[in-house]
């Protein structure tokens, strides 16, 4: 299945990219995707807490992803 990853702030800075698409196995969990992303960042996201938004909504728990989902790993927000 195809999952779109949106990158902001420190995630964008660490990965050097705004957005990309990953081909994942059916049944992949958000927590597994987070591990994947953190390993791509090569240590640059260590110590940075990330909340997860799926299809533009924060998710409170680990969930299974579906084909076509848009996922963002949200570093501490800084509006204001």
């Amino acid at each position: 299945m195809k999952i779109t990853i949106k990158c902001f702030s420190q995630v964008k800075y660490a990965l050097g990219i705004d957005e990309f698409v990953l081909e994942l196995e059916a049944g992949t969990m958000t927590s597994e995707l987070e591990q994947n992303i953190r390993s791509k960042a090569d240590g640059k996201l260590d110590g940075i807490s990330l909340r997860i938004a799926v299809n533009q909504k924060y998710i409170p728990n680990d969930i299974e992803l579906n084909d076509g989902d848009e996922v963002a790993f949200i570093p501490p927000v800084q509006g204001g």
Binding site: Y58, P75, V77
Partner: protein
């Protein structure tokens, strides 16, 4: 009533309105960019948003604020893109019958905005470089 706008460019303030009959208190907050960010001199901040989600979260937050406090209306504009030192990045107006509710609502709204609305700041330094705010220079 709730009115929310995310704007790429200078914020036009909500115009004065003398026609309100039951709002004894009008409280306005303008968040402005300071010349220093965590001790470093900056020339501007650049605000990045999660397009779509930022506006949806801000709208939900405004509705939550109206539920939680005895206020009549809340209007909010958040700027994105480059904001020079001194300029307004956040403009909020709350109308209420009495002032205390408006003050409490304003305080809570801003605290929550800083927790849940997906907007981030990049610091633009004197040499033109651009780093996520609150990152150290050597990151």
């Amino acid at each position: 009533m709730v009115k929310i706008e995310i704007i790429d460019g200078p914020i036009p303030f909500f115009p004065n309105d003398d026609s309100r009959q039951q709002d004894g208190a009008e409280l306005i907050f303008n968040g402005r960019v300071r010349a220093t960010e965590h001790g470093d001199a900056i020339t501007a901040l650049e605000y990045e948003q999660y397009e779509g989600m930022a506006e949806a979260e801000l709208t939900q937050l405004a509705k939550d604020t109206c539920q939680k406090f005895s206020i009549n209306d809340i209007f909010c504009k958040h700027r994105i893109g480059k904001v020079d030192v001194g300029e307004t990045s956040l403009h909020i107006v709350i109308w209420s019958k009495h002032r205390q509710e408006g003050i409490d609502a304003m305080s809570w709204f801003i605290i929550e905005l800083k927790k849940r609305v997906p907007i981030w700041k990049w610091a633009i330094l004197g040499d033109g470089s651009r780093i996520p705010s609150e990152c150290s220079h050597d990151y």
